[in-house]
Amino acid sequence: ASDAIFYYDEAAQAKLQQEKPWVNDPHYFKRVKISALALLKMVVHARSGGNIEVMGLMQGKTDGDAIIVMDAFALPVEGTETRVNAQADAYEYMVDYSQTNKQAGRLENAVGWYHSHPGYGCWLSGIDVSTQMLNQQYQEPFLAVVIDPTRTVSAGKVDIGAFRTYPEGYKPPDEPVSEYQTIPLNKIEDFGVHCKQYYALDITYFKSSLDSHLLDLLWNKYWVNTLSSSPLLGNGDYVAGQISDLAEKLEQAENQLAHTRFGSMLTPSQRKKEEDPALAKIKRDSTKITVEQVHGLMSQVIKDILFNSVRP
């Protein structure tokens, strides 16, 4: 039963394309299911770009209110935050790759694009929103996925978000509730201006029965890599950047406090948005940095005890 999802029903997908149930409901798609393979490919590609934003396409299908991502492939495009629709540079590549995929039996069409935000979180910038709006105009159904490979390595868990934009001028009836994430000061304006123009979808993952079997057996090998990984040592620049950003936010918060009578009290508009006061946000950011550092140190201390306190 878990492998049934791997079958591509061309007729059913063609029928959906004709019916287009998403046209009348800007919030139609609510869920994303990503295959184990697609996730691995996207994260590895994102990390390989280092501090440069990279991008790729996702192939899959739809199932009710869910978009199912079966596979992903990298595009020869970098610096996706420098221009709208950066993928236009790779149209020829996309066509060639999709054709070869179809020949090899990968029948799914493109259902979205992914790109990386190294170190600054999973959200859509102004350029991303414009790109996605264009995609949703001409290539529906289409999804935008953002991966932060730096935070993935720093936190030890995959930092990923899936988004769809609202049509131009559309005002959603309810304020979208999103999980808090640290946004660097130099990106806060871009984040704040556009955060109402899109919503996040719930992400779940799936794998085949053979994937499950192989992943269980893989653990018998890569436990060594788990034990030998050192999160403290790989991300020094990112941590320094986070701390520096935190200090700047503190400076800003202090300037605000010096000029207000009730510093931690919310203004009526802030209370309406259920926003946290500035210092409370800084507190959360500093806690996150600390938790990651402490986790990294725990690993180092445990390994030191295991391997260095033994004497012949």
């Binding site: 393979l37 994260v43 034990l227 600390t290 391997f307």
Partner: protein
């Protein structure tokens, strides 16, 4: 032959294994549905399909690291892989992964077959010493080892004539940090949202605990084996004894002034970050308190 004598070290990334698995599952799923649709009986009657593809990566000296793979087409007329398709795919992959070269090919099945050598030889003009990665897709819950075999080819004289035969090569699983985290993520299907600090800590420590448990179980097996050797229950194996002795002499793993300095530096930096974060939390709490005091004792409101 049982083992290779080339001296090459093979490192295989989990992405390659999942790629092959996905390829196989998809082809099997399509074939099964087609079989059902044409009314030719149950999907269980179908023999497992064979899939083919290329493996790509880098070779640095004697180390061959297989990073990725892509699917290929089997050309039944030539009993080999579709060359034009391979070259097209290679061109596309070179644009995105310019540092990766074709290292060999993959297929699925329980063991290498004679016809596989034909495919293997055809690839020798691209890579003079290609590897053959074979995944056995049969799911056996009692299995402990990965059902992946890497073969090289060697020239052996058999019945007086030189022949290329497949020889097994050992390999290790290699991951980059991001890959390991993703594999862990899908293997244990962890939620990608934050969770509370306690949940995060539990997840982190559980991972380390599981890894140490694996290490512990292997040490116990070795220990019991050595005790049995000492008692004479099993014959003495000198090469194993030498390996164990060499391993023990490597402990402590790192013992130098430089390591101590760096380790304590990291330790103290983390303590400092914790201390500053605590002070930040106190500032925030203090600020809220001041506001409450101001509100409570404000003459104007």
């Amino acid at each position: 032959a049982a083992s290779s004598s080339s001296g090459l070290t093979f490192k295989l990334h989990p992405l390659v294994i999942l790629n092959i698995s996905d390829h196989y599952t998809r082809v099997k799923s399509q074939a099964a549905q087609h079989h059902l649709a044409t009314g030719n009986g149950g999907a269980g009657d179908l023999p497992p399909p064979r899939v083919y593809g290329c493996v790509i990566g880098v070779q640095r000296g004697r180390t061959v690291e297989i990073f990725n793979s892509f699917e290929l087409l089997y050309d039944p007329s030539t009993h080999s892989l579709d060359r034009a398709f391979l070259e097209k795919k290679q061109e596309l992959y070179k644009k995105v992964f310019p540092n990766f070269y074709i290292l060999g090919w993959y297929s699925t099945g329980s063991e290498a077959q004679e016809s596989d050598m034909h495919i293997h030889k055809a690839l020798m003009d691209i890579n003079e010493n290609p590897v053959y990665v074979l995944l056995n897709p049969a799911i056996n819950p009692a299995q402990k080892d990965l059902p992946v075999t890497i073969y090289e080819s060697e020239l052996h004289v058999i019945d007086g004539s030189p022949q290329l035969i497949f020889v097994r090569s050992s390999y290790t699983i290699e991951t980059v940090e991001a890959e390991r985290i993703s594999v862990d993520h899908v293997a244990h299907l962890k939620p990608s949202d934050g969770g509370s600090a306690a949940t995060q800590l539990a997840a982190h420590l559980t991972g380390i605990h599981s890894a140490i448990k694996m290490l512990n179980s292997r040490i116990r097996v070795l220990h019991e084996y050595l005790v049995a050797m000492q008692k004479g229950d099993i014959p003495c194996e000198n090469s194993l004894l030498r390996q164990v002795s060499s391993l023990l002499r490597r402990l402590p793993a790192i013992e130098s002034g430089k390591f101590q300095d760096d380790f304590l530096m990291e330790y103290n930096d983390t303590l400092l970050v914790t201390y500053l974060a605590m002070l930040t939390n106190c500032s925030s709490a203090m600020n809220e308190l001041v506001d409450k005091i101001n509100t409570a004792y404000d003459r104007h409101s």
